[in-house]
């Protein structure tokens, strides 16, 4: 039985789990093979029991059940290359593309980007919705190449990837001079310049393969820095605050009208890298049951509170949490 302060335990549990990695899954072919064998035995035992009770089961029927149960729902994966791979959602300044990396053309909001194209930001960044899922944010002075719908090469600058909806999480592989980074359901940033490459993980888990240091995995609230000499150091970072400020300035718009307040709060918590807490059960109940009126397009606390006020709630930051309470 749990003793002590439940809220303190909850915080401790959240902290413990957020630094963990997903549990490994068995290979799919092993799963299918074992399922088949065990099911066959179970079927045979069942038949034996039924025969003992005086019933007869046709072996053809048992075989057809086994065949049906072989079919597992596989995750949808699109291997079909598409000519266009992403859509520009917004760009505060000039963003340009080039087929070969030489002649550049300005890219406008809602323009589609093709596989193989180079993209550059200037004094402002930009946000792309990827066809493969999730969104990719480019910081100012960044140059990337879209290799395909889920692979990019970071030539210089910084990108931030949010895998987005977790019923269909986005996947991405980012190549840079210091190696290749792959996500496992995450929010993370990659920065690359002549002297170093840095990977910062806000949530989830990434694997990073480097030419010199081999495979490294980084968990939430960790950052890895690879120097030009090939030395890799791993540090702890916060999931909120300065390292992520530029990503919050280009948050993609979120359509939350008609949804519950809790949906908005979870979106906001995710965008600001914080965990969500309620100061009272009353506040939590309102969030779970009340619907949003109005809209919010940026991850700004002031904007959030303008919406929360309509249901007598308010919020404040307290280090790594957003605390939601009743409006006094």
């Amino acid at each position: 039985m749990t003793h002590g302060n439940p809220k303190k335990h909850d915080t401790m549990v959240e902290h413990i789990l957020s630094g963990a990695a997903p549990r490994p899954s068995a290979p799919e072919d092993d799963r299918e093979a074992i399922f088949s064998e065990v099911h066959s035995q179970w079927s045979a035992l069942g038949k034996s029991r039924q025969r003992k009770r005086g019933f007869v089961i046709a072996s053809a029927i048992a075989a057809s059940f086994a065949l049906v149960l072989f079919i597992f729902v596989q995750p949808q994966q699109s291997d079909t290359p598409t000519a266009t791979v992403a859509t520009l959602l917004n760009s505060a300044g000039s963003l340009s593309q080039s087929a070969q990396g030489d002649t550049w053309q300005r890219l406008n909001t809602h323009d589609r980007v093709r596989s193989g194209y180079h993209l550059k930001t200037a004094v402002e960044g930009g946000v792309f919705a990827l066809d493969s899922g999730g969104n990719l944010r480019l910081k100012a002075d960044t140059h990337i190449v879209f290799l395909d719908a889920s692979h990019i090469r970071l030539e210089s600058g910084a990108v931030y990837f949010d895998s987005g909806s977790h019923t269909k999480p986005g996947k991405i592989t980012i190549q840079a001079s210091g190696g290749t980074v792959q996500n496992i359901g995450t929010q993370f940033a990659v920065q690359s310049d002549e002297s170093k490459m840095r990977v910062l993980v806000r949530s989830g888990w990434v694997s990073w393969t480097t030419p010199h240091a081999g495979l490294t995995q980084l968990a939430a609230r960790e950052s890895g820095t690879l120097s030009s000499t090939g030395q890799l150091t791993v540090d702890q970072i916060d999931s909120y605050g300065d390292p992520w400020a530029w990503t919050e300035e280009m948050t993609p718009a979120f359509d939350h009208s008609g949804k519950k307040i809790i949906t908005l709060l979870e979106w906001f918590a995710r965008e600001t890298g914080r965990s969500l807490k309620f100061a009272s059960s009353e506040a939590q109940k309102i969030a779970l049951t009340q619907t949003i009126h109005g809209s919010i397009n940026t991850a700004s606390l002031d904007e959030l509170n303008r919406t929360l006020e309509t249901v007598d709630l308010t919020s404040r930051f307290r280090e790594e949490t957003i605390v939601v309470s009743m409006l006094q």
Partner: protein
């Protein structure tokens, strides 16, 4: 309804040759059992596959022997331990001590890492051990508790996403997560206590 009575009901349905029950049984226990065996077999893929298959075959054959005194998962793990011992004996590795991750004194590293000051970096080995203990604790929970916690805090899924996956409402998911957090806290605490006890005994003997 207690957890074990739910397990007994599932077993009864399996014995009645309920196809849906078989799929439920497999989905609930296969992955956890696979991880249980894999940790004990040093991630040997082929040995793990053989052991998991033989465990499930034996379990299916002896379902009528399940009395509900322990959880079905615990019962399966007991069978699995015997299968692992048999496998190692056949491979002439009977002199190998079966070190279960929960018992390894080296996992004192995981315990130590919890008390590192912020200025002390955690080594890769300590981090790996800590993560293993967390995964063991998650696997000790009922499957939907472990899954919900993993989705929420490791993958970062929203409540709405979890609700959709589980076919529940948002409030029900919040309530489930609260229960799951308490259960994880208890399971993880027990694991850490056992690691500490073993370590203390080891030091005392030394």
């Amino acid at each position: 309804m207690s957890g074990h009575s739910i397990d007994k009901k599932l077993v009864k349905r399996l014995l009645r040759h309920d196809e849906v029950a078989f799929r439920e049984f497999f989905d609930l226990y296969f992955e956890r059992l696979h991880r249980f065996a894999s940790r004990r077999l040093n991630q040997d893929k082929e040995s793990t596959k053989d052991v998991v298959q033989s465990t499930l075959m034996k379990a299916i054959k002896n379902l009528s022997g399940y009395r509900g005194e322990a959880s079905l998962y615990t019962w399966l793990c007991t069978i699995c331990r015997h299968e692992i011992s048999d496998l190692l004996r056949k491979k002439h590795r009977s002199d190998e001590r079966l070190l279960f991750v929960e018992d390894l004194p080296e996992n004192q590293g995981a315990l130590d890492s919890l008390f590192l000051s912020e200025s002390e970096p955690e080594s890769a080995a300590q981090r790996s051990e800590r993560i293993t203990l967390i995964q063991v604790a998650l696997d000790k929970l009922p499957t939907h508790y472990g899954d919900a916690l993993e989705w929420k805090y490791i993958y970062g899924y929203s409540t709405a996403d979890i609700a959709q996956r589980l076919g529940m409402g948002n409030e029900a998911v919040q309530s489930l997560l609260a229960r799951a957090r308490r259960a994880f806290h208890d399971a993880y605490s027990v694991l850490l206590d056992s690691v500490t006890d073993i370590s203390i005994q080891g030091r005392t003997k030394a």
